[in-house]
Symmetry: C2
Subunit: 112 residues, 2 copies
DNA sequence: TTTATATGGTTTATTAATAACTCAATTATT
DNA sequence: AATAATTGAGTTATTAATAAACCATATAAA
């Protein structure tokens, strides 16, 4: 028996997870899919899909996103057509950013 | 040594995961946070944060969302202020939906 | 109302994620 | 160019997620 997860999660994060779960459930019903149907299509178990719809933070993000994608829940308000384009533009932006950061105050001069 | 995950994940899903990871990384750098900094604030290990930024589908959704929230990546294009409101409205919508669905063709009459 | 199906909530064995560490390579600053 | 810090990637022990049962309840259709 696995111990229940003890990782602290902020309320805002729990809210976002709950919303995603509800959106998936709503989209599933709108497409007239049973939990079993969607689980099979997503390649996951029905019990895992139930936890995803409940907004369980312990689910793998791959499973949750797959379920969302299959029943048409837009991730980041982007549809499939725009996603790859945005990925490319994002990469270009990243090139302009520093590869790493340093602490602003790194050595205090206190020999006086 | 745990076997590598074998769950199939669609390309669209992988793209969405990669985008989220890049957005988190960009936001982290914009806030001048090291991977260690953000990991500590999110209550996760640095190695897990690295996987999240890489878009690994096996990460827990709670860990990924927490990291995103902390460095200000908007989930579902919603900020914290609007999220709880939308959660409420979503619940109201759900009440109007059927609680379960049935297969359309459920019994074929083939005794003739 | 009856019947068949979907769902919610358990349990347990198996599988994979996670934390903590190490080390090499990059990167930013002086 | 030298130095110090960040990052990337790999390893292993521990912990938790997942799949697959099961059953009770709720739900939709006849």
């Amino acid at each position: 028996m696995p111990k229940p997860s003890t990782r602290p999660v902020s309320q805002h994060c729990l809210d976002a997870l709950a919303l995603l779960g509800q959106l998936i459930r709503e989209a599933r019903l709108a497409n007239a899919l049973t939990t079993s149907d969607l689980a099979v299509r997503a390649g996951i178990s029905r019990s895992l899909l139930q936890r995803i719809e409940r907004g369980d933070p312990g689910c793998s993000i791959g499973a949750a996103f797959e379920a969302a994608v299959i029943c048409g829940v837009p991730l980041f308000e982007l549809d499939a057509r725009l996603l790859s384009d945005r990925l490319g533009r994002q990469k270009e932006k990243m090139v302009l950013l520093p590869k790493s950061v340093r602490s602003v105050s790194r050595k205090v001069n206190d020999d006086f």
